[in-house]
Amino acid sequence: MKPSRFDSTVLTLCFAFLYIPIIILIVYSFNASKLVTVWGGFSLEWYRVMWSNQGLMDAAWVTARVGMLSATLGTILGTLAALTLVRFPRFPGRIPFTGMIYAPLVMPEVITGLSMLLLFVAMNIDRGFWTVTIAHTTFTMCYVAVIVQSRLLTFDRSLEEAAMDLGCPPVKTFFRITLPLIAPAIISGWMLAFTLSLDDLVIASFTTGPGATTLPIKIYSQVRLGVTPEINAICTILIGLVTIGVICAAISSKRTELRRIRDEHDAIRAAI
């Protein structure tokens, strides 16, 4: 069926709303003029300026470290939480626990940030790199738990029983059988955790301290003094990184799909 004029108009408008701001941002990062809204010809000047802006580079490095560390810790804790919630189905208080693991997903970030801040103040901990990392670990953990939990719910327990039946002790069974099979969920959990940490402004601004300014905080505070094209440049790089990530994920899932189809063909041929 041919799309009607109305349909194509709506579609065009939707995509325009979504992508025009991003395109403007990318285009102006290559602007030779210092004015953000006036095109002065093509230039990579702002990328050079950005590169030599120590503050911005430091913030990027802090963000990368916080992201990696909190995503890793959050993935470990979230996986353990998911295993506990799925695998020990009859401990007292399982239902409240299951609900509570979802709570931070819907909690306004301001509240999460503020309560973290109050906790750190009450415990008299100096705010900085570690407090941001802990805060990010806490909230990314929930997302990982939810993703891994949904994978574990469809996991065939008889695979583990089969391994144990063949003489494999429980811990070894976890590493030889369970972990390799839930690895895709864990990896996507880690990627989501990393992206969330990279993205976070609110919680970070509550929990950070001197010397641990993350990139979103840095960008936000610079923009308050006026938008400079070097901000456009760093944002373009961020967009580039995210795009590459999404493309990689898409290619990998496409390949899995193709492999599944090929396996099915093999199975059918094998049966004949």
Binding site: D156, S158, L159, E161, A162, A163, M164, D165, L166, G167, C168, P169, P170, I177, P180, L181, R260, D263, E264, D266, A267, I268, A270, A271
Partner: protein, 388 residues
């Protein structure tokens, strides 16, 4: 498909020998899940090299019993002994049993080869020995060409073979098979049943199979335990279970059977000439029935008379003696099965009795057809009195 025949099978019946020591012994096993009793004070002996079936409808506790032997469930009460040793404190990964799972439970991230080698690797066998044993197993299940494939690249029948090879690779003392052929189509299933029997015979292992398919149990087993609601109803050879079921439940679960409600008229052997086997005389709503059987039922007790359809003779002409074991009725329906035809005969009082007749000639139009008035007769030793 031609099948190479193994050595000729000999009569095997250790359970009849008074001094035979059971290999596996379930001793007063009870398993409860909350209020639900899955297995109820069950005792069972299984002998070495036996092919033993647990047969029953789903939810009868047969799988639970097998999982307790494998170590995945612990009995609430009772003991399981293997070669006289209590298994209670042996975790599943240290038990000398291996299990073939209903879902096959093949490791999807490993090749066929790796799946089969998994158990051997756990034992820390040297590499050379492992690969020799894997090759041997692949040959046994005729999958040499598929060693490098992943389970997803195999057909259902092939997966089933890999699962079998994997569970046999460690040469377990007992192989547990949980509905092993459930997912296969009929033809493949029959072939595999015979292959299983050959393998069991060749390797000299003890097989314990859980199934709800009575035909499968009849074909493969040395003995069958028919279970219902956590209780063993009867343990016997397939022939005994079929020909001499001890309860109405077993009689109806295995094969087709006619059940007629009766009252005991006389229970003695002296009505006929002395020296003849005891005879029970019954009355089923006016139909006189006599059964050659030793039976504890007293005169007046209500019992069931059970007879398999293939033991009922069907004829258009009135037999010479219709005083006992003979009924007259109308052919109400005919089921043509190819090898057999089953006639549903409606008696004057509305009851339906089934009679099966082997189709020994190649007639398309059978002499007996719908609406014919026929006589059903059976000899004294064809039926059975069931008191329970």
């Amino acid at each position: 498909m031609a099948r190479s025949l193994g050595p000729v099978k000999r009569k095997f019946s250790p359970w009849t020998e008074p001094h035979a020591v059971p290999f596996i012994r379930f001793e007063n096993i009870t398993k409860r899940y909350g209020d639900f009793v899955a297995v109820d004070n069950l005792s069972l002996d299984i002998y070495e090299r036996e092919f033993f079936s647990l047969l029953g409808p789903s939810g009868c506790g047969k799988t639970t019993l097998m999982r307790m032997l494998a170590g995945f469930e612990a009995p609430t009460e009772g003991r399981i002994l293997l070669q006289g040793k209590d298994l209670a404190n042996t975790p599943p990964y240290k038990r000398p049993t291996n299990m073939m799972f209903q879902s096959y439970a093949l490791f999807p991230h490993m090749t066929v080869e790796k799946n089969i080698a998994f158990g051997l690797e756990q034992d820390g066998l040297p590499k050379g020995e492992i690969s020799a044993r894997v090759d041997e197993m692949l040959k046994l299940v005729k999958l040499e060409a598929f060693a490098k494939r992943k389970p997803a690249q195999l057909s259902g029948g092939q997966r089933q073979r890999v699962a079998l090879a994997r569970s046999l690779a460690k040469r377990p003392k007992v192989l547990l098979l949980d509905e092993p052929l459930g997912a296969l189509d009929r033809k493949l299933r029959e072939e595999t049943q015979f292959e299983l029997m050959d393998i069991q015979h060749t390797l000299g292992l003890t097989f314990l199979i859980v199934t709800h398919d009575q035909e499968e149990a009849m074909t493969v087993s040395d003995r069958i335990a028919v279970m219902d609601k956590g209780v063993v109803m009867q343990v016997a050879t397939p022939a005994e279970i079929y020909e001499a079921p001890n309860t109405r439940y077993v009689a109806e679960f295995i094969g087709d059977i006619n059940i007629l409600e009766c009252a005991v008229v006389a229970n003695t052997g002296e009505i006929l000439q002395p020296g003849h086997p005891p005879v029970v005389r019954l009355d089923s709503r006016g139909v006189p029935i006599a059964v050659e059987q030793e039976c504890a039922a007293v005169t007046g007790a209500s019992v069931a008379f059970a007879i398999r359809p293939e033991k009922v003779r069907i004829a258009l002409d009135q037999p010479v003696d219709v005083s006992v074991n003979a009924v007259h009725g109308e052919v109400w329906d005919i089921g043509y099965l190819g090898d057999f035809s089953v006639f549903l005969v409606k008696l004057a009082d509305g009851r339906v009795v089934r009679a099966a007749q082997a189709n020994v000639s190649r007639l398309v139009d059978r002499p007996i057809t719908f609406g014919d008035m026929v006589w059903l007769t059976w000899p004294l030793d064809a039926g059975l009195v069931l008191t329970r």
